[in-house]
Symmetry: C2
Subunit: 332 residues, 2 copies
Amino acid sequence: MVRAKPVLHSIPPMKDLTTENITENVNLLNSQCDDPRTRFLVERLVVHLHAFARETRLSSKEWQAGIDFLVAVGQISTDLRAEMILLSDTLGLSMLVDSIDHPRTSQFTEGTVLGPFHTHDAPVTDNGFVLHSDPDATRLFVLCSITDSKGSPIRDVKCDVWEGDSKGFYDIQNPNRMEPDGRAVLRSNEDGIFFFNAVVPVPYPIPDDGPVGKMLKALNRHPNRPGHVHFMFEKLGYDKLITALYPRGDPYETSDPVFGVKESLIVDLGEVDAVISQKYQVAIGTKLLQYNFVLPSEKEALDIRASKATEALDGLGVKAKIINGLPVPDLD
Amino acid sequence: MVRAKPVLHSIPPMKDLTTENITENVNLLNSQCDDPRTRFLVERLVVHLHAFARETRLSSKEWQAGIDFLVAVGQISTDLRAEMILLSDTLGLSMLVDSIDHPRTSQFTEGTVLGPFHTHDAPVTDNGFVLHSDPDATRLFVLCSITDSKGSPIRDVKCDVWEGDSKGFYDIQNPNRMEPDGRAVLRSNEDGIFFFNAVVPVPYPIPDDGPVGKMLKALNRHPNRPGHVHFMFEKLGYDKLITALYPRGDPYETSDPVFGVKESLIVDLGEVDAVISQKYQVAIGTKLLQYNFVLPSEKEALDIRASKATEALDGLGVKAKIINGLPVPDLD
């Protein structure tokens, strides 16, 4: 084996390393990064990773177990098994990042976790579509509207919807899956309304036969998510909304393993009455989910995000500037 | 597919989730863990992960990149490629954890990173062993002693030693490796002395063709470690020491990508004189590495660790108790 002569960088020399100053030294080496946002992210990551180890007096054996765990999470991951996302979900990080990236004031519908079951092969369909072929399910008619902050309907929003079946399984958990089931892509009509035929969602466990399942067991946590229907809304000029609705009274409502339930997303199911029955050709008495989603414009979302970002960097005692919508310390 | 009825846990219900209170809610759910040390580790991990996201206003896109990165690190890992350890090394975390787990006061020899090149198949040999078959190398005679805190020699210490060759490659980087090369397991003699024939170590890059290499490039960091010889010492009753010695003057001495260099581990090489030449049968003028390693007893190490642990938990404003040598908050 032959090796090229290594290139020498000119950087400020580190100080003699100690348990106390190593963080400063690592950040000194990382300060060579040209991109201010990456530099900021890595600096804060190193500060928190090191503080975690220092505060807990993390042992080599414990950290080796942590490394083995992360490797196992990476190795079980495939296109259809998002174990690292599941880890992030079960630590509450996915929910937090979504809240940060899509902050909402009370007038707008809140977001929640995407989860590992969204796909990109859902059929593009008309309103009224029957989502499931599941014969055992309790039918649910979903009749929703989308408005802006002024209450005006938003037409032609791309509505991606998906849910599990009457046993709590998503189609991609079926090893013999031939085609999508329990998912669709609809468009809101000129009144901002979209509707489809779903099933009453039931609780189901997140995939718990891998490393994350082992972690939950070690933490004495159950893996069961309360039943819900997923929604994702996209339209040019509006901030993308990933959310879900949770029928009230689920036994796991207050202990969701991925922290996806918010009070504002819990719904009381109704029943289809004569008027709705006639208008939408759905049997009277069918379970009914009605909801009005309020989407912020891109500008409204950016404004909320920018004010939260400035607040966060103020909390660190540094002046912020915003680059590509994301905060970095203003060193000028 | 059929699914067993989920088991219901009785836990305190979470509050309505917000960006601010989600950390508290996650820790409420995790507080069900029976083991106090695990509970403490996970609580501090969640606090720091969440604070990192909150302070930086981490975006969904950035976190997805982070998840993809961690999956890639896991997937490239094998028994012979410890990419996750390398990630920990390059973030300074391995060095920090070692310093925490094996704290040293100034009278004792400091530790440093194990690195990814230690194996368990090194030949068990007598002192005087020739470590390398490398014909291009500059020979180095290593003549060291091991003492306790009172300066008394420690005999019969298991001394695991390993290093790269004259091109900076370790044997396990050779895809055609048939047997160990550049490594040995020796024992200190009745005078606490051990010696072997090595080569003058040269700088070499850490494996940088994977995700960690990409990270270093993004951070504008070089991958080159200053040359060094690894040592690991074990004897019942003494705290295990993993360390390395670095010949002075290496161009990467102050910018080691894994933060392994400490001032106390930098050595000036000498030359074999007539006395040493005759005693150990080594040519006069051969480069010479001499060092005295000072090992703490298990008790001395435990005492230092316990006092540091108490100090750390005091810093968190919580009273500590020590369980199995590791601190947990004392809730009584």
